[in-house]
Symmetry: none
Subunit: 247 residues, 2 copies
DNA sequence: AGAAGTTTGACAAATTTTTGACAATTGCCG
DNA sequence: CGGCAATTGTCAAAAATTTGTCAAACTTCT
């Protein structure tokens, strides 16, 4: 069974996925040729432009010219350590997101990474999809955070930077998960979000709770933020579809 | 403690949101009969069609004919290793998403998955819900066609993102199924759609109500959107054939 | 161990979907 | 043109699903 034709449905998907659109440039700093090649293929098939540098020195030299939207950085590198590259890039472009690739042992403490200035990290056995998701998240993050640090409506003020919510001049205490949920909903205002999408975007790949969990967090948000939690105005249910944040 | 081990009954609550598109066919390549059975039940109960192959050789033989939308691939297989199957499939259909099932030890090397071209992986033991979510994510990603966000005609405005329909400046409330039906019809404007096609595309494989159900939804759409529901202009009946949306 | 946060499962309530009956319409045929 | 069979329109009741809510179980961090 050799080169038979590819099933139609698959071929069509391919075309759709590979259509040229300017998703952004990614700088990959990685010395292993096998990983280089794999990452290049992965991102290019998703519509990103990929620039590859094999060591820290050349990475720092090229990153100005390449003007990437995201940097993916292997921690163990020849010539210049990944940590130093990370620091240096952050010094030159503080808002440029850096995603660090590392073995589990390298990140025995997350503090280190934060000190480095990395925005996210992916540990050793990672799935391509996960990496893609992080890249998308990073891009999404920069394109939004840059514009919106704060949102006001209906006597409520949300400060995404401080992670603080105020309603009627009183601070509302939200848990981490509640805040993340709120943030995602607000940043996607007016759009209907399915529970699955919320789980993917807010909860992420590691944990995967049931959809009931989402309901509960919506419940909490309503109780804490809606004037009348029984008939919510901002956190609306779209029956059979998901939720939608308005205003 | 880790994830639950394939309790199929739990799976049902997973997704409230069946997409408006047809749920696709899934090719499962797995040799353990117990897992085979579990996966078959899991996916079929969710409305996917499932094709099972027990070894790599037969998988490669059948995958062309089956034309799956996603492949779920166990890494350790008899006859032909999972890695090779993965590579071969990727060679033939680069954009067909592959989700790898594996023991943690198999993916100790991060290079492996990338080189294989796998899109995602789930380690055993895995939760059904998680696997389902990955499949949905994979499908969502590939099938994201160049969809229009908004359509206007005859005083009616449909916003697919907000899932909101406005007629003459007033919001028209549609149910989930009504909206999905509308979306499919609009996206296939001017084409005659048979009831069976609608059931397949909008309702999916698993649920298969009678054709009367389709009539009812058309009825609702006419009542809510047509100026004179008695003599519909946009949602036309093609006697003996099906329906056709115009404008 | 205690406290705070998160997730699950149960149940009722709300809402939607499906079914089935019957009327109305259409197309076809003599 | 009228009659017949098949298809479609319509409605309301029945069945099924989805969501709101709560309390208990489970985690995590101190």
């Amino acid at each position: 069974m050799g080169q038979t034709m590819i099933p139609i449905s698959v071929a069509r998907m391919g075309d759709a996925t590979n259509s040229a659109r300017p998703l952004g440039r990614i700088l990959v700093v990685e010395d292993d040729p096998a990983v280089q090649k794999a990452l290049k293929r992965l991102f290019e098939s998703e519509g990103y432009a990929v620039e590859i540098q094999a060591n820290g020195k050349s990475a720092l030299e090229s990153f100005q010219a390449a003007a990437p939207a995201v940097v993916i950085l292997d921690l163990r590198l020849p010539k210049l350590s990944g940590s130093d590259v990370c620091k240096e890039i952050k010094a030159q472009a503080p808002s440029l997101p850096i995603i660090v690739l590392s073995a589990t042992s390298d990140v025995s403490d997350k503090v280190l990474l934060l000190e480095l200035g990395a925005d996210d990290y992916v540990t050793k056995p990672f799935s391509p999809r996960e990496l893609l998701a992080r890249v998308r998240a990073a891009l999404r993050h920069t394109s939004r955070t840059a514009t919106v640090n704060r949102v006001n409506f209906d006597g409520i003020s949300i400060d995404f930077k401080k992670m603080e919510v105020v309603r009627d001049d009183k601070i509302v205490v939200l848990t981490a998960q509640e805040f993340k949920t709120l943030q995602f909903l607000v940043q996607n205002a007016d759009r209907v979000i399915s529970r699955d999408e919320l789980l993917n975007e807010v909860w992420g790949y590691q944990n995967y709770p049931s959809t009931r969990t989402v309901d509960n967090h919506i419940l909490k948000l309503r109780q804490k933020l809606e004037r009348d939690p029984a008939s919510p105005v901002h956190f609306r249910t779209v029956h059979g579809m998901g939720y939608k944040f308005v205003r």
